[in-house]
Amino acid sequence: MHIKLVIIFIFSCLLVFNVESKILIFDVSKKNIQISEKKINPDFIIFGYTDADDPLVIKIKGPEQKVILQKKTKVLGMWSWSKTGEFIYPGLFHYYTNQNTKDIDFEIKKDLFDNIKLVGRDNDNLKRDLIKKKMSIDLFLIENDSFQVINQKLKNFFKIPIFLPKNSPSGKYSISLSIMDSMNNFESPKQFLIIEKLGLSSFVYKMAHKYSFIYGVFSAIIAIGLGFFAGIIFRK
């Protein structure tokens, strides 16, 4: 049902959008996404159409976060974490491309570097460290050749199933589709998503970070209650 609606939407848009003879349009299967602890199916699917043969890049950008990067350093012969940098950075950055070329790779890495705002002095090594770390926890991803053909007869239509990591931050996400042509960089209008996390972990995280005092008092009450209850149960 979703797929049919999206295809109808794309066709109707095709009649309107036409940029320098290159048509570029996409939509998503869901706008409100709830990430749960366990999942088998993709969180959402991007559907699109293009008649361009150029390299295409879909970019998913998460809400901005203030991040501290720490590295292990040796202090008096002992290993300790020390702060190496502070950043303001989108919590998630996923890139999906239809090709796998050096040009695309260069453009994506440039885009990543440009999006990191360092608090204090600019330092490319710190940015590189952050990108590496984000990549290791799936919050930063480059997936080449990820555009899938919907139908062999309609080769200009594509779909990309998206699996978001469990640690994706909640909030407003933007998705954009660009033609990475060095002569003519074109970006289609953005689509926006709201990501919500479900489950006990997410609730506790939200409480601990947004209402920390209430969370502290609540934790203490729970602990006292459990201790009191245990005392009654095990009293001989």
């Binding site: 203030k66 972990s201 602990a223 201790g227």
Partner: protein, 304 residues
Amino acid sequence: MSFYLPVAEIEINLLIILFFGFLVGFMSGLFGVGGGFLMTPLLIFMGIPAATAVGTESVQILGSSVSGAIAHSRKKNIDYEIGTFLLVGGIFGSTIGVIIFNFLKEAGNIDLIIKFLYMLFLAIIGSLMLIESSMSLIKEKKLKKKEKRKRTFLDYLPLKFKFRQSRIYISILLPVNVGIFVGFLASFMGVGGGFVMVPAMIYLFRMGTVTAIGTSLFQIVFVTLNVSILHATFNLTVDLILAIFLLVGGVIGAQYGSKYTSKFKGEQIRVFLAIIVLIVCLKMGIELISEPSINSRIIIQDAY
């Protein structure tokens, strides 16, 4: 039964947490100690960030000491006058401790400080305990005549007060300062501090053992309450889910552990405990000096 701990930001098997809670609870019951100084290092070894281990452990200690404190209160084993002075010091020491903890956490050095403090304290406690209990095991117990205690500088401290229940006449500076020290330890190491307070009350204040234990539990409840709320509010280092599982495992373990206490001699129990403490100390030391497997991490401070 893997579960993503939201504050510790680590996926962990909750059955393992329950098991470790049970294990430390068992040892607490067996050895008659709080167990905070064993549980916090164990959490660190499991990959929980040291700061979160400390914050979470204070909640667990709060829960596990409540029933003991109530039981001692019913038996009138708490000296509320001394307890109040210990508490005043404890609240002050723990609050200052949390402020310094926050400063060091921001600077990124808190892990090192916690591990170093643990290594130091465990080495001191373990060695003293091992020497004392080994000597007791080797030597035959000789009955000594009760000697009249010599006066020390502690007897000349000002602001003396008569504590009626314990029948002692000491300066209030003693319980206040012990409270400050223990409060500081509670905020930095995720311990209750009974292992410092009880000997201090027995040997320095000359209180009875049972009253010392009851009064110590009374102080621990309120100081860990303060530490738990402050750590949760300012350092965001309390993982309630982790604390609940530790508490459940710990409470059950303590019941079983206490059943085995009578099967061992006091000296034997202290030797076992000293060996465990020294093993934990050694492991902590190795962690501090060996090359880390993970050499970078990110900490999300605020979501805009």
